[in-house]
């Protein structure tokens, strides 16, 4: 893992922890790390929704 990737993973994990705390979801450390990974795949899907091609679908 590059330094940039490691830094991004750490940031994702912190963001994840903040959101889980805000919602009161008692995920443990391993679950939080796993959700941080899932967050990236959800983020990739959301990015598709804002692509130029997707914009052409909006009424």
């Amino acid at each position: 893992m590059s330094a940039d990737d490691a830094s991004r993973t750490a940031v994702d994990r912190l963001l994840m922890q903040c959101r889980l705390d805000e919602l009161g979801l008692p995920a443990d450390d391993a679950e939080t790390a796993e959700l941080a990974g899932a967050y990236r795949s959800v983020g990739a899907q959301i990015a598709i929704l804002y692509s130029t091609a997707a914009t052409g679908l909006l009424r």
Binding site: M16, R19, L20, L23, G24, L25, P26, A27, E31, E34, L35, A38, Y39, S41, V42, Q45, I46, I48, L49, Y50, S51, A53, A54, G56, L57, L58, R59
Partner: protein, 468 residues
Amino acid sequence: MKLPSSIGEAAAQLRSARLSSTELVSACIEQIDRHEEALGAVVGRCDDTAMAAAALADRELASGVDRGPLHGIPIGVKDVLATADAPTTAQSLAMLPGYQGIDSAAAERLRASGAVIVAKAACSEFACGTPDANLPFRFPRNPWDPDRWAGGSSGGSASGLQAGFFLGAIGTDTGGSIRAPAAFCGVTGLKPTFGAVSRFGCVPLSYSMDHVGPMARTAADCALLLSALAGSDARDEMTIGRGGSDHSAALTGSLAGVRVGVDAALHSRAGVSAGMLRLFEDSLAVLQSAGAEIVEIDLPFTAELYAATRVVIASEAFEVHRQNLRDRWQEYGRSTRLSLAKGAFIGGPDYVRASRILAGCRDRYAAVFAEVDCVASITCPIVACRLDEIGTSVTSTAPLLTSQWNGLGFPAVSVPMGMHDVPGVDGGLPVGLQLAGMAGEDALVLRAADAFQRRTEWHTMTPSRFRR
């Protein structure tokens, strides 16, 4: 006496008095007794009420009261659908309130049609988790190889059908949960048009993507079940104004004049194996022999449609479970709670964006269906995996070819189309052919599936140990 394997066959035998519902239901209960330990397809049994209902069905038929083709037929109901005579667990220790002691709309309609509910079929936790050995529920195994998964989430419905526990089953489908297990187990399953079947009494996963639908050995049986299930229900506003209809009348056996669209790129993007592609090509030849015209098409916006569907499902599932997850986190299975929690990170604007993308996709796909009547594809790009192989790669791959039809709300049926060679599995494992149509064209996709099954025998295949 050889017992019937399809609803149509059983209905004929019941009316010719060669078979009674009591005998048929008893045989199903015996089959459950014999094989349930190995399969885990049933989470709740209704032996006593089923036998009483079967006896009533026999008395009614003897006195000239005929409720139609489901009269006296044993049915399994997925355990996310409430039934008054058996607990509904959704296979979770964190079950949501409001589903005990009532009949779901599906159960009501089945009973009104004279059907006999024999069991609650096992499923994935809340129709979204994966088998979890830490939960006190057994998970459905595949009759073709009990070391493999029956698929999710209506796995018990598919596994129980293949094993002869019931002749018809009801499943639910939010991203492929009827069609994937149907493909894995070698049975037939239909996700109807959104709003065709009421979801009252169904534990929700995703408000705008959940569908209740039929599963059976044949498309003709699915048509009988759908005719009983479909119709308007004031308790599910998505069904209001929807009429029921006789879906069997459309099953002519001919596909003359039917254009079947095929997008080859869909399969290459999903990483389908060469063996599966060969089975698919053979299936297209069968459809052609029934009179269909095969048309090459490019399905539009597939990546956008898939992404929007997954974002909406994740958001809506988290909305359903948000408070319960906070209060009962540890009572959920690990894979279920993590899957549900993913929705916590999707913002409101992103959900709106996904919903708008779906609306746009419905327009674009309506244009596709002006050029073709059906779209054919492989149902799942993988065969049933071993239970110890279930993980993110399986759960993310299985719905690649199914969930877009949930996003659109269009009907899609899966029928067995062959056996795929798998090392160590004698005879291989089933593969499904998916046929999708325009919203409201449930009868057309069933007609195509039925025409296929009139010319093939894959749907009649059963592992030898379950033959009766």
